[in-house]
């Protein structure tokens, strides 16, 4: 098993494309995305109920090797400070196959 950082991001649906672009720019092309998520944070309640999906959040999970973490999180910080959202980093082991 390989030590990785587990990065999870929650962001409003209209801005989720930006996160994927940012991750790809940082060389993180692999990800898992869960749509239709609701929640609440500093920017109020996201009920996930409207017609166009602006009130939906998106949950994005990706992994990152220790040496890349610093660059990735500072890029994410810059984005999230403008558009809001949550980013958590935790430690995990990836089962190599």
């Amino acid at each position: 098993m390989e030590n990785v950082h587990r990065i999870e991001i929650v962001i409003d649906a209209p801005n989720s494309g930006r996160v994927l672009e940012l991750l790809a720019d940082q060389g993180l092309r692999d990800y898992t995305l869960i749509g239709g998520v609701s929640g609440a944070g500093e920017r109020g309640v996201q009920r996930g109920d409207d017609i166009t999906g602006v009130s939906n959040n998106t949950y994005i999970l990706t992994t990152c090797l220790p040496e890349r973490l610093e660059a990735v999180t500072s890029a994410l910080r810059a984005l999230l400070s403008r558009v809001g959202g949550l980013c958590l980093v935790s430690d995990a082991r990836r089962v190599r196959h």
Binding site: N15, G36, D49, D50, N56
Partner: protein, 328 residues
Amino acid sequence: MTVDASLVLANILTPPILFFLLGMAATLLRSDLEIPQPITRALSLYLLFSIGMHGGVALARSGFHLATLLPLGVGVLGSALVPLVAFFVLRRRLSVEDAAAIAATYGSISAVTFITATSFLEDQGVAFGGHMVAAMALMESPAILVGVLLARRYQAVENGAAKGETALGPLLREALLNGPVFLLFGSLLVGLATGEKGWATVKPFADAPFRGVLSLFLLDMGIIAARRLDALRASGLFLTTFALAFPLLNASVAIAASALMDLPAGDALLLTVLFASASYIAVPAAVRVALPRANASLYLPMSLALTFPFNVALGIPLYYAVITALWS
């Protein structure tokens, strides 16, 4: 005007409006009645598909004349100017971003209000031109551009750093290629291209069940709108007043313009409804991306929980009463 009261009542006592009120009641009474979001989205796609095809075949029937282009031009112009007025009114109390977001919201239009108005006209036995659907499609986006440009212009003065956040290219794309706008335009073109023959094949789907689908959709809109009422309490009287008074101002302008253009009563009502309604489809999506600092607990609830119910239940029959009174 005793006409008003009976028209208002006639409008309210139809399944779509009663289901809208039922939906609001469900939320306010804390029922757990809820329509799954994919269904919400599907119902709205159905309505856009149907009204688009309907408008397209109507256009194919009538053909293009100068008279059909005039209200389109006025509509687009209005959709670009209304945000300017709104912005400077709102700017007195709100941040640049909030003022710009709300301005864009009220410059743009509400497709569901428009659709409800077409049902109202049908009940009154009054015709309307297919080009009014084109007007609706054209009026969705300009307000977005104006709103965002206003924010750019005035943000620049206040806060240098925020400038240039989004390039204008993606914004234009978002505004013009927004899913619902695209579907509406596309359906209009398909309706135009396939004419009576195409319409005959889709009519049992797009026309016959329309009113029933609209009822179910408005039930859902009632549920969703009432959930946003909470957010408004915090935002105070100024915005509540704006959300109810500004549409009346816009409606008056639209009625005057319709009179000057000598539009038939049906088209005049639809143009009025476009001016008076506020967006909760194209604009919120674009604003989230282009003006992320704008408070989504303001522009969306104002449009969805105040202006929309007002227009749908009272505005439509009211505007129509004024129009028939003036036109006759």
